[in-house]
């Protein structure tokens, strides 16, 4: 069974994010890393391919400037190969344009199962995976907290408001996994060395047969007209605990009439 994992390479979340003052797009220059949310999908893919008795895991990403560091992390974890779509025409792409690019790359990978995170850490639009599924004509199961593959179908425990649903779905299919679904492995030294020689295909929009006018800023059909700081909330009273701070909490709960 071949598994494709859509991953995002993002600016380090520990660094303060920034917007381009003119285009109002996220500034994504500088070193990018594998989105932590995606490490769960990569791990899940590796475990499923192993449990199925073989098959390759392909990681797929769209990123500016030929960025591959996050893909190398996934390769070091054990993925067999990577596809990177990088093209100046993609700057300013909305989630749907991103989905079109990823869908074309997934099609090329020939995967039986496509995995993705529920949403990225930086943009958190949270719709791209399902858009990919629709563009590929695939069924999808989102918010998986457990995934098993049984021959030609996938069985998923899907998070719901009340608990979870057991969902089955024939392959090929797309599944989004929640963080914590598996424990991502750390790349070993051997893995990191091996990753350097693994195949990494770099493609342009034209290679995928996509019209450059459909993606990037040229194809965007939503414009950000303004960005402002959200209303800040004032901080209140600070009490350093000296063994009796709980009494102040009780007092406040009492005043608020919740006890």
């Amino acid at each position: 069974m071949n598994v494709a994992v859509c991953v995002k390479q993002i600016p380090d979340p520990a660094a303060p994010p920034a917007l381009d003052p003119v285009t109002k797009n996220l500034v994504r220059t500088g070193k990018l890393i594998l989105d932590d949310s995606d490490s769960y999908g990569v791990e899940m893919a590796l475990q499923l391919a192993e449990a199925a008795g073989g098959g390759e895991v392909t990681v797929i990403s769209m990123a500016p400037g030929g960025e591959t560091s996050g893909l190398r992390t996934a390769l070091a974890m054990g993925a067999a190969k990577a596809i990177l779509v990088s093209d100046d025409a993609l700057a300013g792409s909305d989630a749907l344009a991103t989905a079109k690019v990823l869908a074309a790359a997934v099609r090329r990978s020939g995967a039986d199962l496509v995995l993705a995170a529920t949403e990225s850490t930086d943009g958190y639009t949270g719709t791209t995976p399902v858009q990919v599924a629709e563009l590929l004509g695939l069924p999808s199961v989102t918010f998986a907290k457990k995934v098993t593959v049984d021959g030609s179908s996938v069985r998923v425990e899907r998070q719901t408001e009340a608990g979870y649903d057991e969902v089955t779905c024939p392959l090929p299919a797309l599944v989004t996994v929640t963080a914590g679904v598996v424990e991502p492995r750390y790349p070993s030294f051997k893995g990191i060395m091996a990753a350097k020689s693994k195949p990494l295909e770099q493609l342009t929009v034209a290679d995928l047969g996509i019209d450059a006018g459909e993606v990037g800023a040229a194809g965007a059909r939503q414009v950000v007209v303004d960005v402002a700081a959200a209303e800040a909330r004032a901080s209140g009273e600070i009490v350093v605990d000296e063994g009796d701070a709980h009494e102040r909490i009780v007092q406040m709960l009492d005043q608020l009439k919740v006890i």
Binding site: T160, V224, E237, V239, I259
Partner: protein
């Protein structure tokens, strides 16, 4: 007045209309000449009167998906109506698990982008402006759609308040939507439902929310959060860090990825206050935080901040509350 027609998606739970749908209907009334509700599942007519009381001029029945996941069939029905020229100017969808599925599929089917994390909507000439939080809600971006076709908005619950009004006498008419051509997109089927044992109020409806974070140190220490929530008649919640660590289920998560809560009291225990968490709770009416790091960002929003060890403060708080009850 903004647009001619808005459709509001109504995702029912156990047959009931959730507050999120009523919030969207309430807001849509001020933005469009005509507001229509889109519902699915068995017996849509049963909720027509209630939706009408919140301003729905008609209820559009997207059919009963049965055991299928709803994303594909509901998006298919809406897209089919749009293709026939009967579509709206905008579609409002609450940010739930199923709502996001429908939004993603609808976007791809209509070849229209979707704006998510919406917390505000305003009329702008003959269009709409949306406000959505970015960078964990620390900044608000205002955006509008360009080009032809419906504008798709996924709105965070509790962005608007729900108030009845704008309705006509009696239940509005229920009309079926056409079915879409779904191919194999509709083959994911639910074979069993599992309800997690939960006593007390729901996380996003509770008057008191007690949340735990990494500062608890271990999964076992979460028992203190459960006990405090029970003593206060509230709901237990969690930061993303401990959900990722597998200490508690995803459904407990408060934040950008999880639930948005607006309780009377939010008690944050051992939570540093990453922006990802703050976006889900900073509109609580009162925030109490306990954290041993006095520089923790959570103290910048707390009405009462206790600089202390949760392992010392919480047991005493539990004892004090028990002594009162």
């Amino acid at each position: 007045m903004g647009v001619d027609k808005i459709w509001v998606l109504v995702e029912r739970a156990d047959g009931k209309v959730p507050p999120a749908a009523l919030e969207l209907l309430t807001r849509a009334r001020d933005l469009a000449t005509t507001v229509e509700a889109v519902a699915w599942g068995p017996d849509v007519a049963a909720v027509a009167a209630e939706l009408g009381a919140y301003g729905a001029a008609a209820v559009l029945d997207a059919g009963d998906p049965g055991d299928a996941l709803v994303g594909a069939p509901v998006a298919g029905a809406i897209a089919a109506a749009v293709a026939l020229g009967n579509g709206p100017d905008a579609v409002l969808i609450a940010a739930t698990y199923d709502g996001r599925d429908i939004a993603g599929r609808l976007s791809a089917r209509l070849d229209r982008p979707v704006i998510t994390n919406v917390v505000g909507l305003e009329a702008d000439g003959d269009g709409l402006l949306s406000e959505h939080g970015i960078f964990g809600g620390t900044q608000v971006a205002t955006a509008r759609f360009t080009g032809a076709g419906p504008a798709l908005f996924v709105v965070r619950p509790k962005s608007f308040s729900a108030e009845p009004g704008g309705g006509s006498e009696g239940a509005p008419q229920v009309r079926p939507l056409p079915s879409g051509d779904l191919g194999s997109t509709n083959t994911a089927a639910i074979v069993a439902h599992h309800a997690e044992e939960r006593t007390g109020p729901k996380l996003d409806e509770a008057d008191v929310v007690v949340s735990g974070g990494r500062g608890l140190g271990s999964a076992d220490a979460y028992a203190m959060i459960d006990e405090l929530a029970k003593l206060l008649g509230g709901a237990p919640g969690a930061s993303r860090a401990i959900v990722d660590a597998g200490w508690v289920p995803y459904a407990y998560q408060v934040g950008q990825t999880g639930k948005t809560v607006k309780p009377t009291v939010y008690l944050a225990c051992g939570i540093s206050g990453a922006t990802q968490h703050m976006v889900g709770m900073k509109n609580a009416k009162n925030i109490i935080a306990v954290n041993k790091d006095q520089d923790a960002p959570i103290f910048t929003v707390a009405d009462l901040g206790i600089v202390g060890d949760v392992h010392k403060v919480l047991p005493k708080l539990i004892e004090a509350l028990k002594a009162r009850s």
